[in-house]
Assembly symmetry: C2
Homo-oligomer: 269 residues x 2
Amino acid sequence: MTINKRLPTAIVLLGLLFLLIQYGGRVLTFLVLQAVIAAALVEFYNLAARKKLHPQKILGIILALCLGLAFFFRAEVQFELALFGVLFLTGVYCLFSFTRVEHLPYFFQSVAVTFFGAVYLGFTLNHFFLIRFEWGPFYVYFLCSIICLGDTGAYYLGKLLGRRKMTPLASPNKTWEGSAGGILFGVLGAWAARQILLPDANLWRALLIGALVHAVAQMSDPLESLFKRAVGVKDSSNILPGHGGFLDRMDSFVLAAPFFYFLLRYFWK
Amino acid sequence: MTINKRLPTAIVLLGLLFLLIQYGGRVLTFLVLQAVIAAALVEFYNLAARKKLHPQKILGIILALCLGLAFFFRAEVQFELALFGVLFLTGVYCLFSFTRVEHLPYFFQSVAVTFFGAVYLGFTLNHFFLIRFEWGPFYVYFLCSIICLGDTGAYYLGKLLGRRKMTPLASPNKTWEGSAGGILFGVLGAWAARQILLPDANLWRALLIGALVHAVAQMSDPLESLFKRAVGVKDSSNILPGHGGFLDRMDSFVLAAPFFYFLLRYFWK
């Protein structure tokens, strides 16, 4: 995966993303976010399908969308109601679609994987919506700055200094040195975002958030790697040239986005 | 399964349950409920283990307990935070316990089944706690009256009049006639509970709740049957003589308890 191949895709995507985050309204942002989540979910289910786990893609997308609606209508609807709705829909779907004896052998794993994928991606990534509309676009850049600088730092410092392997099974290239570099550059990303975008914010809290958020972000990557290694593939798809798939691009955010949101809510001010 | 065998167990359990619901404080009720949920969850995981899905029992119980704490500390903690905690703990656990290549082949289904079980039982059944402490013990009896009379009505009317099969794969004995009988007797249960316990409540709303709650309750039973049939067993365990296991006893409540709670919240008054 060369820089030449990655760069044009990255520039186009970043430009579009910037326009969306800065100027997109609630409805457009919500729809694009749901589309990205659905795309990542389909890639996740494609991984599961390779293991013959029979994910129910259509059901899963509906479940993720149902969770998404709870974020969109947050003022009116409790999240718990949406989660109940998700379980209820799962039940209705199962009773009407698992009707033949040939379906029984994979019923158990099929339901579990479909449900897990919808919550794992739908619940977590929808926190972008809350960050954008409860805190504003600058906070989205704040998070992205932590993640992107942190990931870059982890990659290069890991290459340069990496000795002790952290998760030999999940991500053989991950080292403790790279991880420390990720946190260091995550702090740097937080510092830059605070200086440029949020000059009134408390500096030390911003730096601490940078360190914590990147530490948590580093967990979701080997987790996704485990899912991929469990089925024996490297990238979840190749839809973004040189960048793997949506799932690969989003994986750092899966745990980091909700964590960042809760830090803002309970710790920021 | 004869009446002789079922009756003594039922009387002892019902007596203890009555004492708990009527006189138990928040802490005791919470602890007993968590124990029941954990027991049902272990039975669920034992089913999954028969399919070689490698559920992580300890992790699953911790996850369910984590969700339970969100109900106990409802005033202080958002449910979303608990769900994030559950995903985060799942991630930490995976990275530290799936460390050998032999673990990879079952990683995917293991994580999904563990997570699904914890939410499917932990999220739903903890609504008993809310019903008890936000609405009072009479509302717990209200729900139990709908479910128990409804289930009895469904069983006997199904035996007597049942012709047209509803879910041939999941529960071959379930008929549309039995289902109608269940709803009829669910309404009867709601009527009795309203007359005796809640004389000031609106009669028609109570009857409507009886019908709706039993209709939803009827869905969770064939769902659990599908899980059992998928692994080829009849009862989830035999810990309660003549009653199957905790999972069998609780299955009608899995969807009905949260549904009843939301009806109270949004429709009752």
